[in-house]
């Protein structure tokens, strides 16, 4: 079985890229190839111009894999120091713990950490090399909301040091909130690649909601730029291919329209639409 088929992806230094896709889309395989844990059958992977294994040896890449727990019988500080000792120019252990937001847990044994704390300790392990590229494979899976927020603020602190980050996720909000570029994968290929706003725009639709007494559905459907009309009492909801044109026409046609609200279609809608198109097109 092929998990990944002919993907071509360039990431520039300083970008924060979300690799987004449903389970089985090929996110983890892509990441494993990037880290040298798996070799592609064909094609090349290069990280800062080096083979992945070399980039790893030089300390240019840090990663948090999807699965994995910590070894026991060490404190968090000792564990991070252990990994730091393998690198030529690591961060100061205390700084790494500080960045991961777990400086207060330095003395705690790894087997006594909660799930969220373990993930942040793994994050500290990933960044202690002071890598230029940080790779995170679904880092917040199974975390509660609070831990997730703490985790992302730790990641932001690290990104602020001019680092490149690639993270895989299937949480759309995370891609939307923390990435400046989203790569959408489905069935082993890249189906979309661009800023979150652009991905949403690819689906093309925006929605206008408003209150309009005595609305006439036929009139609304005839407005330019409107593709679908939903009417509930006085509340109208218009799905638009061009919301700017539609809104101007609506204001001209019905001056008493009020409470106007224009929203982009969610990344979720884009996600479902784009990944479905791809799965349908992909050979079984």
């Amino acid at each position: 079985m092929r998990a990944v088929r002919g993907i071509d992806l360039d990431i520039a230094p300083g970008e924060t890229v979300a690799l987004l896709g449903p389970n089985g889309a090929g996110k983890s395989t892509t990441i494993e190839m990037l880290l040298g844990l798996t070799r592609p059958d064909a094609g090349t992977v290069s990280v800062f111009g080096l083979a992945p294994e070399r980039a790893v040896d030089e300390g240019n890449v840090g990663a948090m894999l999807q699965t994995g727990s910590l070894i026991r019988d060490l404190s968090v500080g000792e564990l991070v120091a252990m990994i730091a000792s393998l690198y030529p120019e690591p961060l100061d252990v205390h700084d790494a713990l500080e960045l991961a937001g777990i400086a207060s847990l330095a003395g705690r044994r790894t087997q006594k950490l909660s799930g969220g704390e373990t993930q942040r300790a793994r994050f500290a392990v990933a960044i202690v090399a002071d890598p230029e590229l940080l790779v995170l494979d679904e880092p917040t899976v199974a975390m509660d909301v609070e831990s997730r927020r703490a985790f992302w603020s730790a990641m932001r602190a690290f990104v602020a040091r001019d680092k490149t980050v690639l993270f895989a996720t299937h949480y759309l909000e995370e891609a939307d909130a923390y990435a400046d570029r989203v790569v959408l994968m489905a069935a082993g290929t890249i189906v979309a690649d661009g800023p979150p706003t652009e991905i949403k725009a690819m689906v093309g639709s925006r929605r206008i909601r408003a209150t309009l007494p005595g609305a006439d559905p036929a009139m609304l459907a005839a407005l330019p730029g409107v593709t679908d009309v939903d009417l509930r009492g006085e509340a109208i909801s218009l799905v638009c291919s061009d919301s700017d044109v539609a809104l101007r026409a609506l204001l001209d046609a019905s001056p008493d329209v009020r409470d106007i609200e224009v929203t982009g279609a969610g990344l979720e809608e884009a996600f479902v639409q784009l990944t479905h198109e791809e799965s349908a097109a992909a050979p079984a």
Binding site: G36, L65, T67, L74, A81, M82, A84, S85, P88, A129
Partner: protein, 244 residues
Amino acid sequence: MSSTYMRLELLRMLRNRRFFIFSLGFPVVLYYLIAGPNKNNDDLGGSGISAPVYYMVGLVAFGAMTAVLSAGARISAERSTGWNRQLRITPLTTRNYFRTKVLTGYAAACATIVVMYVAGATLGVRLPARNWIEMTGLILVGLVPFAAGAIAMGHLVSVDSIGPAMGGTTAVLAFLGGTWFPITGDGVFATVAKCLPSYWLVQAGHVGLGESAWGRTGWLVVVAWTVALTALAARAYRRDTGRF
């Protein structure tokens, strides 16, 4: 190799209660139970050496085997938690990873040796310095096949079964190696025993009898097991990780 890495790996071992129980506690307690009542037996079961010397080395063999094989248990555990994959994305080479694990196992084995020698001395074991050194040297060499075996088992056996697998292997090898009673004669039992690396560990106690404790057969068996288990370890590692 980083000394911090090695130091922390040793620290992990010292914090592990099982190490104290199985590699140190067990052998010492059993030693006093078995050799204590036979303290004055100068030629144990035709072995040519006294009971305190014989059982001292027999239980060193038991404890040191356990200590070195436990490196395999640690490898298996780290595989199951995914920690070894995390290590693969660091500059730590496979060679240094194994080196650390084996050295840690050896450090534990050395602790067993020291503790057992002290226990031996309390039961009246007195040997010339030259014999202590030769005996220790033979034991350390005799543990090499076990280190290779530990790496092989660490990659072949899942973490769920490694405890029983190690315990069973150690028990059988200790029994057939002569930890509990001297194996003499030319019967099938003795012939099988002489083909096992554990037998030669126990035989290290025969230093100072005017002849070499191992002889050609001993060296041959230890070298053969080392070669075979190293090949098995390399194969198991490749099969497990898909790396060459």
